[in-house]
């Protein structure tokens, strides 16, 4: 049972949040994870998300906005079903990160921070994602793909388009 009436979240997520706030010595600690998990479910951090999260943590909406705008993974606009994040930081750049990014742009027909018209893919250039020794690397949702070549990117994106690769959040049936 969720402690919030009319939660905008799924019962599972609401229940998870109910538990999350009890975990920490100060419940505000749940803020960043909550925003991230809410984004995973809703697609982005909407006004409704901000308000419910604020309510759950006894914070002002402004507090939530102030915090969420700090973190680059949190977005206040929807992204595609598959958010393709290509690293172009030093290790990846040296091994063709920009080429991969350019290839994704052409392949998907969109620019950085845009979403395909069908809402399937969005593209983002990101800073180092911690996969430098297998550069160039990218993440699709939370899944790592690395040692990329344009051909390999084609293959990966095609599989997503065909619904073949599930990201780990979906894998666990959440």
């Amino acid at each position: 049972m969720s402690t919030i009436a009319n939660s905008i979240f799924s019962p599972e997520l609401a229940a998870r949040f109910d538990k999350l706030v009890t975990l920490y010595p100060v419940k505000r600690s749940a803020l960043v994870p909550m925003l991230l998990y809410a984004q995973d479910e809703v697609g982005y951090v909407s006004e409704a998300v901000i308000q419910e999260v604020a309510q759950r943590l006894d914070l002002f909406d402004l507090d939530v906005r102030s915090v969420l705008s700090y973190y680059s993974m949190l977005r206040t606009k929807p992204a595609g079903k598959y958010n393709v994040q290509v690293c172009t930081n030093i290790s990846c750049m040296l091994r063709g990160g920009y080429e991969i990014l350019d290839h994704c742009k052409k392949k998907l027909g969109i620019e950085n921070k845009q979403t395909t018209p069908d809402g399937q893919f969005s593209l983002e250039e990101v800073e180092c994602i911690g996969d430098c020794c297998s550069a160039p690397a990218m993440q699709v949702n939370y899944e790592f793909h690395d040692e990329l070549t344009p051909d390999k990117v084609d293959e990966i994106l095609d599989q997503y388009a065909a619904g073949k690769i599930l990201d780990s959040t979906q894998k666990d049936g959440k």
Binding site: V32, L35, Y71, K77, L94, R95, D131, C133, S134, S168
Partner: protein, 444 residues
Amino acid sequence: MPRLVSHPDEVIVLKRRFGQGAAKIDRYIELDGYAAVQKAIAQGAEAMPGWIIDTMKSSGLRGRGGAGFPTGMKWSFVPKTSAKPKYVLVNGDESEPGTCKDHLIFREDPHAVIEGAMIAGLAIGAKTGFIYLRGEYRTLLEIMERAVADAYAKGFLGKNIFGSGLDFDIITQTGAGAYEVGEESALMESLEGKRGVPRIRPPFPAVVGLYDGPTIINNAETIANVPHILLMGGEAYAALGTERNGGTRLFGISGHVERPGVYELPMGYSLRRAIYEVAGGVRGGKQLKAVVPGGASCPVLRADEIDIGLDFDQLAKAGSMLGSGGIVVLDETVSIVEFALRTIQFYQHESCGWCIPCREGTDWIKKTLTRVYEGGGAKKDIDTVQYIAENMMGRTFCPFGDAAAMPTLGFVKKFRKEFEDYIEGKKAGTALMPEERDLIGVGH
């Protein structure tokens, strides 16, 4: 997923369980898992904390997060008694460009992190440990969460761990995209649900840290080393490395090498050999141009400066840093101007914005270098960049400012000629950035 690599020169301590399915708790136990914590508890309640800290001190282990602070000493700063609960905080924010070693630890040996955190807790009298992973490591967070759940299921975590009469809980936590949150006090802010802005020090975390309680914060690799050290003994671990730089560490070698990967090499190992032997040499037989020896924050070394042992002291002496052990290798095709620009872009994007020299300094260096890169530079721009960077050094609220200024200074000082030539139209290297490119924009 980063690939597992190996090389005969490696000295395996931390990587011992890699590639063996140790993420599964039973397998971990088979491989001596949770033996170290039991060994500590077997010392008896009285002797245990001192024994752990003494072992850590004798191991010569220095923090693997970047600054290389002696771990045993750090733990000994925590007051014996405290009105507020004490905490252990594992820094798994790993965001230093060129670094992906903690990534492997979380994936291959998550229980080592748990066991290390438990031991740290026993050493300082903390009942709770937090393991903070960067937001991008969601899949690894799930591995960690599974491992924690398994440890609880076995009764290893929670009340009365291993019959010691002591309790220990572990909470996993995720960030959401911010390099600065790797800085220890910013990480505590983030964990408390706030913006990742660092805290004023003093007080230091060992006295007033997370939730105002005494806290030790260590890098994930540092913590994962702890069980191994306890099992093998501090002196034995220390003997693997050099003086004041005990043991081995994970070096991520990336960039223009034949066999990039994360290798476990003894402290003091030759940088030249790491590049030319362990990582298979410069890719495609090209000439080496430069090396960033310890992650993006460390001043660059020229090709003629690589005859140096990889430990904290030797690199410091050479005017650079061992940092997080991320060795980024640049071959002759790289334009240092471009590389410097890409580096400062990162810092400009990641500055928390709290203090003036860092917020404005990174922005101006980026703007100036961008203009230079695009062909609109003048020679005095090099002086401007140097002036700004010099005036950021040591003047900012947290070490981020230094982390941004140091590599910049390294590039313009060591490759000044290349900058001058570039401005005069004589561009070295092959551009990697496309002409039409977005500078990553922050904010929403």
